[in-house]
């Protein structure tokens, strides 16, 4: 009968890039990206309205920020490496990829903490300080959220929850991690590089 034929043809929860869960993550990332766009708009708006030099405290140094950027980009690569692993059913590669990503993410946050402690200004000292700490702080919070997701997925990976065909949660969290990475590149370019252009 036709009805049974259709049912046999259809997978239950195909859990791939076309599934609702994936759409949900893409939209969440879209709205988060918009949030950062508005924060960066605030940065450039106040920069364009500034009467004195911008940034008023001098151009931020690249000493720590540049290596940190490299660390985050590499962590995107390790996340991708792990995800490709599970696509081929390689549990060990997924676990290792997630673990290395977690370590790199933690390193990023630590280095950012060191950079914060070396700043001569605070969020309350000027509008620039407010912008710098708010924008990088919200990015840091997103890195932290990504790491929490990483931990949960990691536990599930060690429990063997994922297979070559069913690993939507891994793909979603990997996508989120790449997003956090891309946002950092834009934030880095805006806060650290554009002041060097003028």
């Amino acid at each position: 009968m036709a009805a049974t034929a259709l049912l046999d043809r259809l997978p239950v929860d195909r859990a791939d890039a076309r599934s609702p869960g994936r759409w949900g993550m893409v939209l969440l990332i879209t709205t988060e990206a918009s949030f950062f766009a508005y924060l960066l708009f605030s940065y450039f708006y106040l920069a364009s309205m500034a009467r004195g030099a911008w940034p008023p405290t001098g151009v931020p140094a690249l000493q720590l920020a540049l290596p940190n950027t490299v660390i985050l980009i590499v962590s995107s690569g390790t996340m991708w490496w792990g995800e490709v692993g599970i696509r081929n059913g390689n549990q060990g590669r997924l676990r290792l990829g997630l673990l290395v990503t977690l370590v790199l993410g933690l390193t990023f946050l630590t280095i950012q903490g060191v950079e914060y402690s070396r700043k001569t200004f605070t969020p309350a000292s000027s509008a620039y300080g407010s912008l710098f700490f708010t924008i990088t702080g919200f990015h840091g919070a997103h890195v932290f959220a990504g790491l929490l997701m990483n931990v949960v997925i990691q536990v599930r990976a060690w429990l063997g929850h994922f297979t070559a065909r069913r690993h939507l949660a891994v793909s979603n969290i990997a996508l989120y991690w790449h997003f956090v990475d891309v946002v950092w590149i834009v934030v880095f370019a805006s806060l650290y590089l554009t002041p060097r252009l003028g």
Binding site: L10, G24, L27, F35, A37, Y38, A124
Partner: protein, 640 residues
């Protein structure tokens, strides 16, 4: 007919699978889109009554000159809470209520794409409303106007908790709005019944889809601006502080980047409601379906390019204001397209003048007036004359009452019988309409004149002899007539629950799928999920669109909570989706959020940390799979 009834559908079995559990657990854990939709409608309507009460008190004060019943501080709180309530806690959530209830029924699905997110969206809306209104209880309600311009709302000039309630409440509510919007977008693209390609969906889906896409991009602007405001106030930051490198106009830019799209967010779904009701009463398909659908999308895009017209009087460069002035005039075109489509539908149809159609007619009239007095202020010089006067108050009320409240009341008369199973009274309905239409115009039209005569908005009283006495008296009378209309509607509603005649499946002879099921619909919506072959499934016979041949038989999905996942544009079946059961996670997450926001409000950081940690722990529980796929096939017994 699109509805194939297969004899194999066991409705008992489906009821067992889909019915919400009884008792307190069921109340807190329900993820049924119909329950959530009704909760949205009731909660938003309660806020509508609260906002109306605030307006009634203000109008009492303004009836005559030199009245000092209310102190200026109290009046400030009243107009701010009136605006916040009507714009954020009523106008948008009431439409979410309709969309939540109707979408799955209209698209032939059994629930929304993310039922638990749907529940979270509702609970968060409720909690943020409670959060905002707790400010009234302690007498420190927001008092800086609904758009909260700095520097007035900075700590130095507003030292109480008032504006902290505002900033945090808006962020809280934005969470609800955003996840709700994401749910709508995914539902639109993934859950439509087989065969319901994008050119066959009811217009309300286009309206709510456009609005939801706008929310995804616009809501973060509100979140960002309110976070910056909170940081300025609480931590002494300087985003809006001109003395330390900040700029007050940054607030206005961010707020209106959100605020103007918001106007269309509360309008587009209402345009959808109207576009789906008018054909039923015109007894013919909507004229220009494609144009109306595209006009909602066009409005959504253009809506992002007009925010500066709220800021013409702030001394921006002339080139900028000219651009936004032109954009503001351009955006009238898609609205005009929709209006012409409705008029053409009625013109070429055989209109049946029932209460919902009366509200639609009122809506079209008010929409035209609200559009005209809006486009009047699009040219910069005219705007300079009238900005911050009662003319603007008249405009916003024509727009929101005309394009939101009237379609919503029409939709009550049209769809409440589907939800309650009982018809409302046609006779009382005509009175409700008459009182609201006459009262509304009587209240809001004289505001134009008051504005032209120089009456500024938001003053708590005025002197005699300025020529504003009569217009204000008329406005107050009109406002109370309007309120009587709303009261009569409540009488009609409660009367109908007991005495209203039974509605049956399709009391209006409507064309869309929700009318193919019983009123109220069963918990599983459709025993056999429908296959759609045209835009008006229930009118296929008479429109001569009856399908050739038998069409594919559709299986009963009754192996647990299941519905179809279909392709984004053509709606070809792609998968069977497992839907979640009742769940306590949503209400618990929203409670944790409430704890977080009270912690932030009161600077009780330990409490905020408890809230955040709670949210994180609960989310882990939420997303932990209840069925662990230990084997490749464990979750997919039917896969090839």
């Amino acid at each position: 007919m699109a509805i194939t009834t297969a004899p194999t559908a066991s409705t008992d079995r489906l009821t067992t699978i889909w019915e919400t559990s009884p008792g307190l657990y069921g109340i807190l854990a329900s993820v049924d889109h119909k329950t959530i939709g009704k909760r949205y409608l009731v909660t938003a309507f309660v806020f509508f009554l609260l906002g109306g009460l605030e307006a009634a008190v203000m109008r009492w004060q303004l009836t005559r000159p030199d009245t000092h019943l209310l102190a200026p501080e109290v009046y400030n709180q009243l107009f701010t809470m009136h605006g916040v309530t009507m714009i954020f806690l009523f106008a948008s959530p009431i439409l979410s209520g309709f969309s939540n209830y109707l979408w799955p029924l209209m698209i032939g699905a059994r629930d929304m794409a993310f039922p638990r997110v749907n529940a979270l969206s509702y609970w968060t809306f409720l909690m943020s409303g409670i959060f905002l209104y707790s400010s009234v209880v302690i007498g420190q309600a927001p008092d800086g106007g609904w758009f909260a311009y700095v520097p007035m709302t900075e700590q130095a000039y507003s030292p109480g908790l008032n504006m902290d309630f505002y900033a945090l409440g808006m962020i809280f509510l934005a969470i609800s709005t955003t996840i709700g919007a994401i749910n709508f977008v995914v539902t639109f693209f993934k859950l439509r019944a087989p065969g319901m390609s994008v050119n066959r969906v009811p217009i309300i889906l286009w309206g709510t889809l456009s609005a939801s896409i706008m929310i995804v991009f616009a809501a973060p602007a509100l979140t960002a601006s309110c976070i910056l405001l909170y940081f300025d106030r609480r931590f002494g930051m300087h985003f809006f502080d001109a003395a330390n490198g900040g700029h007050p106009l940054l607030w206005q830019h961010l707020f209106w980047m959100f605020g103007h799209p918001w106007v269309y967010i509360v309008v587009l779904p209402a345009i959808g409601l109207a576009s789906d009701m008018i054909p039923t009463f015109a007894r013919r398909p909507l004229a220009g379906y494609t144009f109306v659908a595209l006009s909602t999308i066009t409005t959504a895009i253009l809506g992002f390019g007009v925010w500066v017209h709220h800021m013409f009087a702030t001394g921006l460069p002339q080139l900028a204001t000219t651009f936004f002035s032109a954009a503001s005039m351009m955006i009238t075109i898609p609205s005009g397209v929709a209006i012409l489509a409705w008029i053409a539908t009625l013109w070429y149809g055989r209109p049946v003048l029932k209460t919902p159609l009366l509200f639609m007619a009122g809506f079209i009239v008010l929409f035209v007036i609200g559009g005209l007095n809006g486009v009047m202020t699009a040219p910069v010089p005219f705007d300079w004359q009238l900005t911050d006067s009662y003319f603007i108050v008249a405009h916003i009320h024509y727009v929101l009452v005309g394009i939101n409240v009237f379609p919503v009341f029409g939709a009550f008369y049209y769809w409440l019988p589907k939800m309650t199973g009982h018809m409302l009274s046609e006779r009382l309905g005509r009175w409700v309409f008459a009182l609201m239409f006459v009262g509304g115009n009587l209240a809001f039209f004289p505001m134009h004149i008051a504005g032209m005569l120089g009456m500024p908005r938001r003053i708590y009283t005025y002197q005699a002899g300025l020529g504003w006495d009569t217009v204000n008296l008329i406005t107050t009378v009109g406002a109370y007539v309007f309120a009587v209309g709303v009261g009569l509607f409540l009488v009609d509603f409660f009367r109908s629950l007991r005495h209203g005649p039974l509605a049956g499946n399709n009391p209006w002879d409507g064309s869309t799928l929700e009318w193919s099921v019983s009123s109220p619909p069963p918990s599983y919506n459709f025993a056999v999920l429908p296959t759609v072959r045209s835009r008006y499934p229930l009118w296929e016979d008479r429109l001569g669109e009856a399908p050739r041949g038998g069409g594919a038989a559709v299986p009963v999905l009754d192996d647990g909570r299941e519905t179809f996942g279909t392709s984004a544009l053509d709606s070809d079946p792609e998968e069977v989706l497992r839907m979640p059961d009742d769940s306590l996670w949503p209400v618990l997450v929203s409670l944790a959020l409430l704890i977080l926001f009270y912690g932030l409000l009161l600077s009780l950081w330990w409490m905020a940390i408890v809230g955040v940690t709670g949210v994180m722990v609960l989310m882990v529980g939420w997303f932990w799979p209840s069925r662990i796929p230990t084997r490749e096939t464990a979750l997919s017994p039917r896969e090839p």
